[in-house]
């Protein structure tokens, strides 16, 4: 340890500042709920399916409760009180009746009824959480049977055809060709849908919809391939956008292994309301913690809009904040796929040394996290030959700095969604570099006081300065002022704000009750 000779005091100070900056946001998240958090509770309580127009019953049920008593009490008590009053067994049936307008919801006034409703809600959601626990145990079993990838970093490949039945053979082929992790990228519109689509889907834009059925189909296919190739192939999707909590719940239920889950991505890049995002994010991370899912954070995105050298410290700041929020939600270090990217302009002198300094800084700040290393996109010009060379250097930086998860770069980035041959060429590139230089990190020690060490120290110092300013200013104000990725996002604006409610004194959520107990 200690290739960069970082000052332990500065590192400690950075973490203290991240905690001070993050705590007010955690307090906010703990005192608010959202429509999506409540829908996730109902999904864990067993509500399934959608109406003929594709609107899920959980949406109908939450909307009906909200119209009668608001969101601030949580939906669990009104729903399970109504279930008892109506003499219905199935929550899904109650949702269907509520959608037809034939159920009225209320918070019971009598203590006994209230206690009974809470008990029933807890029993129902415990069943959902138990399923998640079973799926986690199943993963552990499969990993011990088939084994983990033989090398680090794990090789992460994206599949994105829009059609789940087209994705499956592509994902299986990618796994056979060496991919350890398959990510099914989502349709571009999905993050702004305030519901989770249902069923197997065959149409999407630049990606495939995240649905419970699509999750199940792909996981089953990759289980088959894991058996075939003799290593457990992990599946990734996206817990981001307006339905982050629900998608996290579905990922746990269907044994996904990694989820994209950034603390600020939705705010900055989708213009989702900051409070909505932080509330949804905390819940989704608690679910991920329970499910044993590795989260992937999205720091790479900052570098696609801001300059990768000037903004290098904002990546470090975001990683520290993501780490604080993740630990607070109960995630272990081994579940933190903190992100960063190879996005420095290749025409800049010493660009590769700068990349090494930044990548090594992340490695040393978070020694136990499986860091996610993201390939160049911004300076991929359509010159596929140069792109392949750049990807080779990206792969080299990844292995030289001990990154945990390597997203395979495509030379056709910015040209087309990857072709079969693009993926094959990209994997050859990775295999060559890992084969030729996989152990080079043992020999790689930056010169004491040299360029790489100095640059890493500078970025860390800048991160500490920025964190100090964020603590003074407040994280929400910093986001409003455009501190991250240039975008300005005030807390009273953005999509999904109308789905946020402050807790009433009697707010009850059996899932957060259980998950807070896990921490």
């Amino acid at each position: 340890m200690g290739k960069l000779d970082l000052d332990a005091g500065v590192v400690r100070r950075a973490r203290e500042l991240a905690a001070a900056a993050g705590q007010p946001v955690v307090d906010l998240a703990r005192s608010h709920t959202t429509v999506s958090v409540e829908r996730a509770v109902l999904r864990l309580a067993g509500v399934r399916g959608a109406d003929p127009d594709g609107i899920p019953w959980v949406n109908h049920l939450v909307d009906a409760v909200r119209a009668d008593v608001g969101l601030g009490h949580g939906v669990a008590v009104p729903v399970f009180a109504a279930l008892a009053a109506q003499g219905v067994d199935e929550v899904t049936v109650l949702a269907q009746k509520a959608a037809a307008g034939s159920v009225r919801f209320a918070v019971p006034g009598k203590r006994a009824e209230l206690a009974a409703a809470r008990r029933a809600a807890r029993r129902a959601t415990t069943t959902g959480l138990k399923t998640i626990d079973r799926r986690r145990a199943e993963r552990d079993r499969l990993i011990s049977r088939y084994g983990d990838p033989r090398q680090r970093p794990w090789i992460y490949l994206i599949v994105a055809t829009g059609d789940i039945y087209e994705d499956i053979p592509q994902a299986q082929a990618a796994a056979r060709a060496g991919a350890d992790v398959i990510a099914v990228i989502r349709s571009t519109g999905q993050s702004l849908l305030d519901y989770v689509p249902e069923g197997a889907t065959r149409e999407g834009y630049a990606g495939t919809y995240a649905t419970q059925e699509n999750f199940a189909l792909m996981r089953a296919a990759l289980d088959e391939t894991s058996r075939e190739v003799g290593r457990y192939v992990r599946l990734t999707n996206y817990a981001s956008g307006l339905c982050m909590p629900e998608i996290a719940a579905l990922a746990g239920l269907e044994r996904l292994d990694m989820m994209l889950n950034d603390s600020m991505y939705g705010i900055l890049f989708r213009d989702i309301n900051p409070i909505r995002t932080f509330v949804d994010q905390r819940f989704s991370r608690q679910v991920h913690a329970r499910a044993g899912i590795i989260i992937n954070t999205g720091e790479d995105n900052y570098l696609t809009t801001a300059d990768a050298v000037e903004a290098a410290h904002t990546v470090t700041v975001s990683q520290l904040l993501n780490e604080f929020f993740a630990h607070e939600a109960g995630l272990a270090d081994a579940q933190l796929g903190l992100g960063h990217a190879f996005e420095i302009n290749p025409d800049l002198p010493e660009s590769f040394r700068l990349e090494l300094a930044h990548a090594l800084l992340a490695r040393e700040l978070f020694p136990d996290a499986p860091l996610k290393w993201m390939p160049p996109t911004r300076h991929m010009t359509g010159d596929v030959f140069r792109g392949n060379l750049l990807d080779g250097f990206f792969n080299l930086a990844g292995t030289l700095t001990g990154q945990g998860i390597l997203l395979v770069g495509m030379m056709t980035e910015a040209v087309v969604t990857p072709w079969l041959s693009d993926r094959d060429i990209a994997l050859q590139n990775v295999r060559y570099v890992l084969g030729a230089a996989g152990g080079l990190h043992e020999d790689f020690a930056p010169a004491p006081g040299g360029f790489i060490q100095r640059r890493a120290h500078q970025v860390l110092d800048e991160a500490v300065d920025l964190l100090a300013r964020i603590v003074d200013d407040g994280l929400l104000n910093a986001i409003a002022d455009g501190t991250f990725g240039i975008m300005k996002r005030p807390a009273d604006r953005g999509k999904g704000l109308d789905g946020v409610a402050a807790h009433e004194p009697d707010y009850y959520n059996p899932v957060t009750e259980a998950l807070d107990g896990d921490r």
């Binding site: 571009t188 834009y205 630049a206 910015a414 079969l420």
Partner: protein, 244 residues
Amino acid sequence: MAIVRPYGDTTGDGMVQVSFTLPIPHDKRAEGAAVQLAATMGMDPAMLVHARPIGDGYTFFVVYGRVHHLVDTDRVQVVERDFPLLSAKEVNAAIKRRLRRRLTVVGACIGTDAHTVGIDAILNLKGVAGEKGLEYYRELSVTNMGAQVSVPDLVETARARRADAVLVSQVVTQRDAHLQNTRAMSAAFREALPAGRRPLLVVGGPRFDETMAGELGVDRIFGRGTTPREVASYLVHALVGDAA
């Protein structure tokens, strides 16, 4: 008039290189199929230089060969820049002198497209390739609405801000989304505002055909590699008029 053909290492050799995948396992017959395809594409002789199986049922090929097609560069149709390229200083001066107020620009990525890289490169102060974006121009008042903006929101904002020009970026092209979104946008502006009050409609993105402006109902299309300065110069040309 200039007649040209591809150049490998000798003038007139007509050499090109292509790569493609066929959905068949790699064997002698597959290699023959690749050569035949290249021949049908007009490569004669076609030399198969690389074949590699991908998975079970696919093979990737690289083929070099000679083509006999000619191109007459005088008969090539492109949209040439038909306006003078101005410096930032000249843009500001032209607006100040001839418009006598700031020129208002509203920009957005519309539809489900979340790729703000194009619109940001043109609008953000930061700009692209060392050239500052439109926010840097003192006489331009810029509103960047960001990604996934709905067409009605865009029209409303353009109206509220009395936009002189609306810039729309489209990167995602799956299922021709960029064309559909652009048509929907231009139709919405035509519906919402009379001809005289309609802002100048400009779209940009790496996969647009610059000759399609009329067909898509917009005033101008900018393709890949467009710089903020070109856009600013065009806005001056179209809205303020060129210097006499």
